[in-house]
Amino acid sequence: MTHLQAQPAGQPLPTATPTARRRPWGRWSVRAAALSYLALMLIIPLLVIFQDGLSQGLAGMWQAVNQPVARAALSLTLRTSAIMVLINTVMGTLTAYVLVRYEFRGKSLLNALVDLPLAIPTLVTGVMLVILYGPQQPIGAWLENTLGWRIIFAPPGIVLALLFVTFPFVVRAVQPVLLGLDRTVEDAAATLGAGPWTIFRRVTLPPLILPLTTGALLSFARAVGEFGSIIIVAGNIPLRSQTAAVYVWGEVESANRFGASAVSVALLAIAFALIVLVDLLQSRRNDSQSRQQKEAK
C-alpha cells in the first residue's frame, strides 16, 4: 500500500475516460504476445506432426502403427502403464490416507519423499534402478538367479520406473480432498456398528473417486510418453522391451520419417484424449464444489 501513497498528492483524479481508452491497448498487446507465443510453441508443432502423420491418410497411418514392431511397442507401453496405474492408485490412496489421518514417526519425511520424483531427472531415475537391479549387481543377480525374475531390460523394470516417476500424482490429487472431508460422518458410521473397511468403502471412498481418477489418468498420460528412465532401464530391444517412445526415437534415428510420424500421432492422440478427460473431470469437480458452497449458504 505504501507504493500508492508515493503518488504525488494534489494531482487531480483522472476521469474514467482516459484509463478506459488506454486499457484495451495493454490488454490487446498482452493477448497478442501470449497467443503468438502459444501458437509458435504449441500449435504449429502439433499441426505439423499431425499433417505429417496423416499425410498417407488414416489407412496409411493405421498400417504404419499396425506393423508388428510398432504394435508390440504400443502394446507394451499401454500394458506397463496400466499395471503402473493399478498399483499407483491403490498405493497412492493408501499413502494419502496414512499421511492425512495418522501421526507417526517419519511422517514429514514421507511427505517430502512424495514430491521427490518431481525433482529427480527421469534419466537419473533409470540410472538408479539399473544400479539397484542390474544383472551385474548383487540384488539384480540374486533376483534373476534365485527367483528367475528379470527386472532390467524387461517389463518389470519399466513398471518400476513408471511407478517412481508418477508416485506424486495420485497422492497429491487425493490428499487435499481427504483433508477436507468431514470426519463426523465416519464417526457416526462407527457408532452405528460399521467396521473400518465398510466405513472406508461406503463413507470415505465415494468423495475420493473423482480426484483419484484424475490422478490416475494424469499418471497414465505421463507414463505413456515417458522416455528418459525407460531407455536406461529397458534398453531398446524390439518386440521385447521397446516402448512406443523408444520406437519413435529409433525411427527418427534411422530416418524412417513416416513410421516415426504415425506412432507419434498415435501417442499424441492418447495424450489429447487423456488431457481432455482430466479437464472434464476437473470442471465437474469445480461445479459440484460451487454447488455445495451455494447450498451451504
Binding site: 486499457r23 510453441m41 519423499l113 525433482a119 531427472p121 538408479m128 544400479i131 510418453g225 528418459g228 517412445a245
Partner: protein
Amino acid sequence: MSSHPASAVSTPVDSRRRWLRRVLVTIVLAYAGFLIIAPLAALVVGALADGLGPVLATFQNRQVLRAFGLTVQISLLVVAIQAVFGTAVAWMLVRDDFRGKKLINGLIDLPFAVSPVVVGYMLLLLFGRQGLFAPVLQALDMRVAFAVPGMVLATLFVTLPFMIRELVPILQAFGVQQEQAAATLGANGWTTFRRITLPALRWGFIYGVTLTLARALGEFGAVLVIGGGIQGRTETATLYIYRALDERQYVSAYSAALALGLFSLLLVLGTELLRRREESKQ
C-alpha cells in the same frame, strides 16, 4: 503413541484400530522405502563405490564441466523466457476474455502428456534439413536443429505448463480490487502491474521458477532428438550421462547423475525451506 492401552477406556475396537494403523503405516513406509529410498541409496553407493577420488576426477573432466555448463545456460534462458511469456499467458487466461479461450486453457496442459521424443521430433519436422522452416533458416544462415536454439525450444515446450499453472490460481485469488484502486489513484496499466500485481505473484514465480528449472535441468528425450548430443557442442548433462553409460564409464555416469539429482533436489528443498520460513514469520 505408547503401546499400552489407556487401561479402562480401551475397548476391543480401539485396539483393533491401533493395530490397523500400525499395519497401514508399515505398508506405506515399506513401499516408499522400496520405491524411492532404495534406488536413491543405490545411486549414492554406486557413485562412491571406488571412493571419492574418481567422483572428484569426473568434475575436473572438461567434457563434464562443459555439459553441465550448457545445461545451466539453457535452463536459465528457458526460465527467463517462461517467466515473461508465462505471465502474459496467465494474465490473459484470468483477466482477458475471448472466443476459444477455453480451448487454449486445455492445450496448455498438453506438453505435460506429450512424450519428450515426440517434442524433439516435431521440432525436427519444423527446423530440420527438410523441415518446414528450412528455406527461411537457410536464407538467414541460422541453425536450429542439432544446435542450441533447437534445444532451448524443446525445453520451452516441455516446461510450458509449469509457470502458467502456478500463476493462474494466484491471479484468480488476488482479484482486481487493488488494481482498480491503483488505477483510480492515477496509476497507468504498467505501473499498476509492476507495483500491485507483480508483488502479489511472488510465490507463484518462486514455485514456477523452481519447477521449470528442475524440469529443464533434467530434460533428456527432447534435447537428445533435436540436439543430437554432439560432444562438446550440444551435449547437456543428461546427454553426457547417457553417453558415459553407453561407453561403460560407470563411475563418471553415476557421479554425474548423482550431482544432477542433488542439484535439482537442493533446488526444490530450498524453495520448501523458504516457504516454511515465510509461513513461520506470519
